[in-house]
């Protein structure tokens, strides 16, 4: 017996996605670098500004950007780099550890120190250098 269309459509069970967070395979340390550049620029702008409202906003945005730096670095660390990379570049774990610390409370999150932001950028560049080498391999 053929079911009326109304009934068959009731029995259809389509799949609905809740998120499109696919491992897309697109990775680039530039993402972390851009956020770190924002952090550095915020530190520089705050240095010449005594407006308390501006400083509060700057602090909030700097914390958010620092958190994004950590996020992007962690994505590279956990999703892009594979065990053979860590074998070939034994300092890679340490680099990520140091870079994410520089973006944390003991680094750019916790201060307006331009030098810390520059250290962070240099650390990201070291990771980017290794990243580029693994891309060529």
């Amino acid at each position: 017996m053929r079911l009326p269309r109304v009934l068959t459509s009731l029995l259809e069970v389509p799949t609905v996605q809740a998120h499109c967070d696919l491992p897309c395979g697109v990775y680039d340390p530039a993402q972390a670098r851009i956020e770190a550049e924002s952090v550095k620029m915020i530190c520089e702008k705050v240095a010449g500004n005594d407006d308390p409202d501006f400083r509060v906003r700057a602090a909030i945005i700097k914390e958010q950007r620092s958190e994004l730096v950590k996020h992007h670095l962690w994505v590279l660390w956990t999703d892009y780099f594979k065990p053979p990379h860590f074998e070939k570049y034994p300092n890679l774990h340490t680099l990520f550890n140091e870079a994410t610390k520089l973006a944390g409370a003991s680094g750019t999150k916790g201060s307006f120190d331009v030098a810390k932001a520059e250290e962070l950028l240099a650390k990201i560049d070291e990771i980017a250098q290794i990243f580029a080498e693994t891309k060529q391999a």
Partner: protein, 90 residues
Amino acid sequence: MEPTLRDGDLALVWWGGSAAPGRLVVFTHPVEGVLTVKRVARPDPDDPSRWWVERDNAHVGSDSWSFGSIAGDAVLGRVLTRLPRSPRAG
């Protein structure tokens, strides 16, 4: 959409049901084109014909904060309820 919905859950959807703040809606994803479920937050302040949708699970995924508001006619239905989970399943 955890904790509201988990992977593999079955939901009863009213196809043609309308969106309103607080409701879960099924819609066509504006970028990916796939059927998607999110919670309606509010009408888009810049265009009242569009809806701003958000996810319940802030940890993963995407929502209007990344893909923007969705067109009113992208909404295909409204989630009425989640069906009971099997007691054996996780």
